[in-house]
Each structure stands twice: as C-alpha cells, then as structure tokens.
Symmetry: C2
DNA sequence: GGGCTGGATTTCAATTCCGAACTCTTTCAA
DNA sequence: TTGAAAGAGTTCGGAATTGAAATCCAGCCC
C-alpha cells in the first residue's frame, strides 16, 4: 500500500540537502504567512502586521531573515506628503516560490476544504478553465506524479 | 518590475484560507523535516530521531500532530524475534505532498545550490531529462507564470 | 515647536525547546 | 532465573523563543 520502501536513513544527509536548506529558511509558520501575504501584494510592515496578527518583534525578525536570504528586497516608497518608508517586495527568488504556494493552496483545497468550493482559484489569462500546479518535462508537457523518478548523483 | 500590484490586505482572510490552514499544519521546521524523511522511506521513531537530531519530546509531539491531522498513519510492525513496535507511514494525504516537497527541493537547487550539481534530481520514468514544477491547464499543457490569473469566488 | 505616523526596539511573563536521563516492555542470552 | 538489550516513548530542569503591550525614533505636517 505504501509506495515508499522502508529506509532507516534518507539517502542524502540533511546537511547537504537542498530541501533541508530550503526548510531552514522558509519552514516556519510566520515566514510562510509573510510569503503568502507578499504573493497577494502586501508590502508594508503595518499591513503585514494587520494581516498576520503576529507580534511586531517577530515580524521584524522574520522580514530581516527573508531580506538577508534574498527572498524579499527592501525598497523605499514615498507617499507624497509623507516621509519615505521601506517596503518589502518579492525578489525573483521569492516570486519563484509562487507555484509551490499555489500547490499548497490546492493541497489544502483537497484535504482541508470541508467540501466547500475553494475561495480562490487560478486560471490562464483570457480563459475560464482552472490551472493547477504540476510537473512538466522540458517541453512543457505534464508528467504525472507516478511517473516521477528520483535520481541520485554519484 | 514587481509583477504583483500593491495590496493593503490579502483578498482572503487567513481564517478561511486553505493555504493558511495548510501552513498551520505543516508550516513548521521539524514537521517538514519529518515529512522529508518520511518521503524518503523513514518510518520508525528512532530513525526519525537519528535523521533529524531533534529532541525526542519534539518528535513525539510532531508525530502525534501529523497522525491526528491524517498525514501519517500509525501502524504496528514486527521484526521476527523482536517485540511489536509502531511505525509511522504516509497516508494518501501525506503522499500527495510529494510534488510540493520536490518543488521545494528544486527551488533550493536553483537558489541555494552553491553552483554544485544537485545531489538528487527528478526525471520522468524512462527518460533522462529533468522535470520541473510548473502550472498546467486541464489538458496538461504548461501555463507560463505571467499568464496566471487568480479568481475569487463570489 | 508639537503632534502624527509608520517602522522598529524594549520589556517581561508565558510558552516552547533542548538535552540528558529515566521508564517500560518484550526478547534473547547466560 | 536473572539480567542485559533494544525501541519507543516520558520526565525534568535550564535555555531560548514567543506574545502582547508599551516605548522609542525619525521625518513630515501645521
């Protein structure tokens, strides 16, 4: 029934596993919620704070981590008549997490959705049909999950 | 430059957002590392502990959460001549996170990879070319990131 | 100057985490 | 029959992190 054969250890030590490294950066409740908000267009400190409802200390710290890691870029914006403020904009590095967060959203729709229609869905521009996160080969054709093979180097 | 227009709040309140709900369950360092190990075939308490190096109390708690949430199933295994022990195997719900963890791995390969060849890569069965996470339409054709539109219900 | 505003820091109790030792149960070995 | 081993936890202090609120701080307005 379980597709995965028993292993006592993973084939890659967590120290040099890029998945483990990724988890070190974004594997955190608040960090993920910040990225969620950022992908919806939130950029300012107080807006993040209102959105997440987290302590300002935590928000401040997490934003710093994300900027240092390169997922967010700290820019300055200026509303006329107000002083300049920093805003936190997704970099290309952060933007490229979008398929993953959409994938997580769709996973939640399936397994946590309580039968309701999902509150947000995704379509191709100019079309009404839904799109989904998936794997594709180099030519852009879908590869079904059961066709995925892992290959170890060396 | 930034593709995402400024927003003061996200269009969906975190309370009834399936992405936020997902993050509540698996948005945690140790939880994600447990799932990583589980997807590599690790099943037993002490093996998880050796793999993650986390306190046994934390592991015990996280496993309980994952079992309660339905991602792991607690079964009993018996090595001949040894007493029966519990093991934690991925349910269908947990297995369906695999594409997401593969996506995170590849994101790490691109952005954290330090120029080395990734220690693990993914291909389509019977092929040698790499696959990648992307969006597809219902027919399985790739949709480029700039063509994605979010649609709110209601 | 004095108030306002949006970032960020300080403070401190409450929680969570860590690490090591300890428990409990069954099986094997002396 | 006693005892050692092994696996899966639990117990227990001390350390670190979190949460909530108050405070600070810099520039823009009047």
């Amino acid at each position: 029934m379980s597709q995965i054969p028993l292993a006592r250890r993973s084939p890659i030590a967590p120290e040099n596993c890029n998945l483990a490294r990724t988890i070190e950066i974004i594997g955190d409740r608040w960090t993920l919620l910040i990225l969620r908000a950022a992908l919806y267009g939130v950029r300012r400190f107080d807006d993040f704070q209102a959105e997440l409802g987290c302590p300002r200390t935590v928000l401040s710290g997490r934003l710093k981590i994300l900027v240092d890691a390169g997922l967010l870029t700290r820019k300055t914006y200026k509303v006329p008549g107000k002083r300049a403020r920093p805003e936190y904009v997704l970099s290309a590095m952060g933007l490229s997490l979008r398929p993953i967060l959409v994938g997580l959203t769709q996973w939640g729709d399936v397994w946590l959705g309580k039968g309701e229609a999902p509150p947000i869905s995704f379509t191709k521009a100019g079309s009404k049909t839904a799109i989904r996160a998936a794997f594709v080969d180099p030519e852009g054709r879908e590869v079904r999950p059961d066709q995925i093979r892992a290959v170890l180097r060396g």
